[in-house]
């Protein structure tokens, strides 16, 4: 059988264009571009890694590994694959999840606590990117369409890397119930997003 990835070549927004361009320059070993990309993305990526990994030293290690992978594989990036931030965030998050799964037990929790979407402050709202605002609004709207427990499980899994089993313990609910919440929540999201 022969299956092929099909992807629309998208029109990028100006800010995204800038980041995409930086990432493309990384492919030609442009360290200045890489530094700019790191400066732009690392604070959010590090924040996400801290939530998943719970320990600063481990988050720093994974951040370093993730950006080295970005540097090494920048040549495989194409704007048609999506936004540069999405590409970098996915690499970083997958590295964090792999690291997390390699531990016998989850690192001790730090001061970082679950914040839902409340941490989306005014400061974090993009000023000049209407499309990004629309993406956020669309996702928030979809999440609001979920039952509270479904939304809770999905956000906890995304931001903190919890597995079904961990969510079951954390929420004091049977494993099957948690799995069903996530499955139904994702089905609803799939139809909405």
């Amino acid at each position: 059988m022969c299956f092929i990835i099909i992807r629309r070549i998208k029109k990028e927004k100006p800010m995204e264009d800038n980041y995409n361009e930086l990432l493309l320059r990384c492919a030609s070993q442009d360290t200045q571009a890489f530094n700019e990309l790191y400066t732009a993305f690392s604070p959010r990526i590090y924040s996400l890694l801290l939530r998943i990994l719970r320990q600063e030293s481990i988050a720093e290690e994974v951040l370093q590994e993730a950006f080295l992978k970005v540097w090494d594989s920048a040549a495989s990036y194409s704007p048609s694959k999506g936004k540069a931030f999405t590409w970098v965030a996915t690499i970083s998050r997958n590295k964090a999840l792999d690291k997390l799964r390699s531990f016998k037990s989850r690192p001790q929790e730090t001061e970082i606590t679950y914040e839902g979407l409340e941490f989306v402050s005014e400061d974090n709202q993009p000023d000049d990117n209407t499309d990004q605002k629309q993406d956020i609004a669309r996702l928030e709207n979809c999440l609001d369409g979920l039952k509270d427990e479904q939304k809770e499980c999905i956000l906890q899994a995304y931001y903190y890397g919890y597995t079904h089993q961990e969510l079951s313990v954390k929420m004091d609910k049977p494993l099957g119930t948690v799995k069903a919440w996530i499955r139904r929540g994702l089905e609803t999201l799939r139809d909405c997003m």
Binding site: I6, R7, T31, L48, S80, K83, N124, L139, L155, G161
Partner: protein, 241 residues
Amino acid sequence: MNRYQKPELYERLAMEYSLGTLKGQARSRFEKLMDIHPFIRVAVDEFDAKFAVLAEQVPEVKPPESVWKNIEANISAKQTVVSTPEKKPFSLLTFFTQKGYALAGIMVLISALFIFGNPEFSSDSPVMFTSTLVSSNDEPMAEVVAMKSEMKMRIKLKEEIAVPEGKTLTFWCMPKDPSKPAMNMGTLVSTGSNEMELTKQIWLGLIDAREFVISFEPSNANNLSPTDNLYTGKIEALTRT
């Protein structure tokens, strides 16, 4: 049809993978499936992009300066190694008297024999496929180019296609052997250019294909062959010689 070709199953697994709730062997197995079935990779990429909006919302936390310094040092070390290879006088005798290199030499020789004995790498193997898909009244409506050098395929629609409600624009690869099933290669957007990534398996599949078809298919159907052909085009293979 393989169970993983059912959209309702692979999309759900793709979402679970993107979310991070697939773990252990299930996660490893799914990663292998992504390599085999590019349409699963597409689904994962799309959900990654959608969920990435969540990642953009976390408050910024500046990492310590030491992280960038380590990254910079690592890159610098790599570049030094690449730019200043150590030069030593080459001695064939020394080379083959060192066991490791002798073994490596044998392995390289075996690999070369394997590679150049493989029809896929022969000089008359295709390096590019092209096709012009035409409508029922023979009007050229879409151009397809697949390049081995980029391992990518581009489909350019000449004009926007009005897709009936409840249907999707589906791209098919029809094998030369009519006893083999048609290959559903995914859904196209109705206007402009579509880009596809090719794997080695896909490339080999193209070698054995005779034509491309674009058809309308019911959105929720899992048809094994095109049911409502819109455009068809013979596949032309180009070789180096």
